[in-house]
Amino acid sequence: MSELLYLIVLFPLIGFLVNGLLGRWLTERQSGLVASLTVAGSFLISAWLLLGLLTLPEQTRRLTQTLFTWIPVGELQVHVTYVLDPLSAVMVLVITGVGLLIHIYSIGYMRGDPGVRRYFAYLNLFMFMMLNLVLSDNLVVLFLGWEGVGLCSYLLIGFWFSDESKARAGMKAFIVNRIGDAAFIIAMIMLFDRFGTLSMGDIAWLAPGVSGDTQLLTTITMLLFIGAVGKSAQVPLYVWLPDAMAGPTPVSALIHAATMVTAGVYLIARNAALFSLAPVTMATIAIVGVITALFAATIAVTQNDIKKVLAYSTISQLGYMFMALGTGAFGAAVFHLMTHAFFKALLFLGAGSVIHGMGDEQDMRKMGNLRHSMPITFGVMLVGVLAISGIPGLSGFFSKDEILWAAFEHGGGVNLIYLAGLLTAGLTAFYMSRMLFLTFFGQSRWADGKQPHEAPSVMTVPLIILAFLAIAGGYLGVPEALGGHNLLHHFLSPVLSATAAGGHMANEAVEMLLMLISVGVAGSGIYLAFRIYIDKPETAVTLQEKFPLLHRLSANKFYVDELYRAIIIRPFEMVSELFWKGLDVKIIDAAVNGAGRALSNIGGAVRMIQTGRLQHYASMLLLGVAFILIMIMAS
């Protein structure tokens, strides 16, 4: 059975090759079909393999397939080995499942775009790389996928590259990611140096042996974490993600919400064994996660661009996941990763549907009262908002509460992390409701002549399926406190370390209380939004005037981009300019040009020898001969 593993990866590659090489001979519809079918193939095979996996005994749920040795250099033997264990199975299913829906959705969304074949080629390449990332056992192959998804992200953000700001956004994503990648590479080198292998399975197995060397483990895990920070858009490397919204909306949904940005979460969860041994790193992860979650949430409150709201929401939710990771609740993080993939993809695609229906309008101030024009979209968006807000019965409720519970338990009671998480939850409910209200309720503020319309069924059907998933996804992890069995946790527990399964041993009464509190917080967030944006729309303006500083800070994203520009980019530019004008132009260029000019001058002098007179040439020849003869005589 495990020999089918490579097919999961192969199918999108075929799709990429077909679309990329033969795209010009395909119609738009065929292109989308090829792309979707290959992903569907991957999805079906992973589903089939998952069923197979479930039939195995709990502790041996691990399918491996070694395809070939990619880099055999001395001790460094990089095998292309694919591993399907519970963790990667969940990831693969989320990726292929959500990916499939988004592929189908894209057929409708991208209709009529001249670059649609290129789009599907990139999308398939992304799927190939992402699956490599999550299936690989080897860090190098994982890194290949890691870089590959970065590349695809860059290509897709800058998909409409003729718009310079979009091309710039792509480059920004690429460059910011590089910072994390550098750390990742160093971490790999250190790992190889210490363990002599880059197979994550082996490392996990060997890790306890070096548990004494805390400093090394902390360094390695910190570096890996920096890599994850870059990829998963955590503070301080989150700045690329909002700009990444320049790409087509399905791309935002797939790459910048559901899959790629969760790669950092996956990386840490995958190396849970290693991270568990580095408490300092774990604490750092938790703090970074909390800061990110809260920080992004506060920015999201004042954004007017519907996709920007979602983008900051994504950052915030990723911060949530890191918070869970930092508290050792790997399972909770993966659970939230999954549910988040469902509802955030749903929200993005819904937003895409709105944008589509509004004729490429993204500013929420120019929307309003759309619930009649696009009822299906409204319905699914409602589900998404409720899910992310943590309303009981929907998936977000379960996963978020698990994280909060983990934070509570980790801190041994009420603590800062828990409180920040709670605050974030409230803010999340507030801004998501705000988005919903601004978009679908109130007065219509769109320009005259616009005819908002419902999206075609090729777009709405995936939305409905995702809405269903956004509701149902949470039931995989119903906590025991609510009489559930927390299926996902049990499924994941063989892979993640013992602490990951935490939660079910807790005091059920306290857990129930905490749930009530979080529901209350979420509810009040929604109510507040209702009060401000529907009941008394003028309050928003009043608030703005009352707290101008706060509003400006939030609306301008706390001037982080400007800050970066001032403290990193500007000095860098200045140094670069110094090097350019001082070193490059005056010394290096001058040396090169001078060498050229000198040669030219020497040539000018020497060419006088070239008189065009045969005899002069002959005499030169003779001079050489005479010289040789004299040398012979002299010797």
Partner: protein, 167 residues
């Protein structure tokens, strides 16, 4: 006797060669060069290189110099119209060059081979005739020999190509 002949032919050779170089009329130069080569052939005979000597006449006098004569006649190149107007630099340059080369060569000759030796190596009967040459040419030097044939063919084609107005 032979040495007297040798020096006689040698001086004729050098004299006529000088004439070739110094004379300003190309036709005379050609004729004198033929004469020089005839003298050279005589030297070859005296050096007991009979085949080479006859080849010298056959190839140089019979073929090569006829071509020269032909070209001179065809182009109807008269005597150089004026004395060559050399720049002073050229004169010194070339003169110095010739001097250096000539002196170096002579120095090499006199210095490199030790004291005067008049005794030549003992040679078999028929040395310098066709048979030993042919034996070597068709055994040890077969490949160069065939290559030379190829070279001639190439030269033939090249000549036709170069000299013909329209191919």
């Amino acid at each position: 006797m032979t040495s007297i002949l040798f020096y006689m032919f040698a001086s004729l050779l050098i004299g006529s060669s000088l004439f070739v170089v110094l004379n300003r009329n190309p036709i005379y130069s050609v004729v004198m060069l033929v004469f020089a080569f005839a003298n050279l052939a005589a030297l070859y005979f005296l050096l007991e290189a009979y085949f080479i000597g006859i080849l010298q006449i056959l190839v140089y006098a019979g073929a090569i110099m006829v071509l020269f004569l032909f070209v001179v006649m065809l182009l109807n190149v008269g005597p150089d119209r004026a004395r060559p107007q050399w720049a002073a630099m050229d004169r010194w340059w070339f003169g110095g060059m010739v001097g250096v080369v000539g002196l170096t060569l002579l120095a090499l000759v006199t210095r490199g081979m030790g004291p005067l030796r008049s005794s030549a190596a003992d040679i078999d009967d028929g040395f310098g005739e066709i048979a030993p040459l042919a034996t070597d040419l068709f055994s040890r030097y077969l490949l160069p020999f065939e290559t030379a044939a190829l070279l001639l063919t190439v030269a033939l084609i090249g000549t036709v190509f170069l000299a013909k107005r329209r191919i």
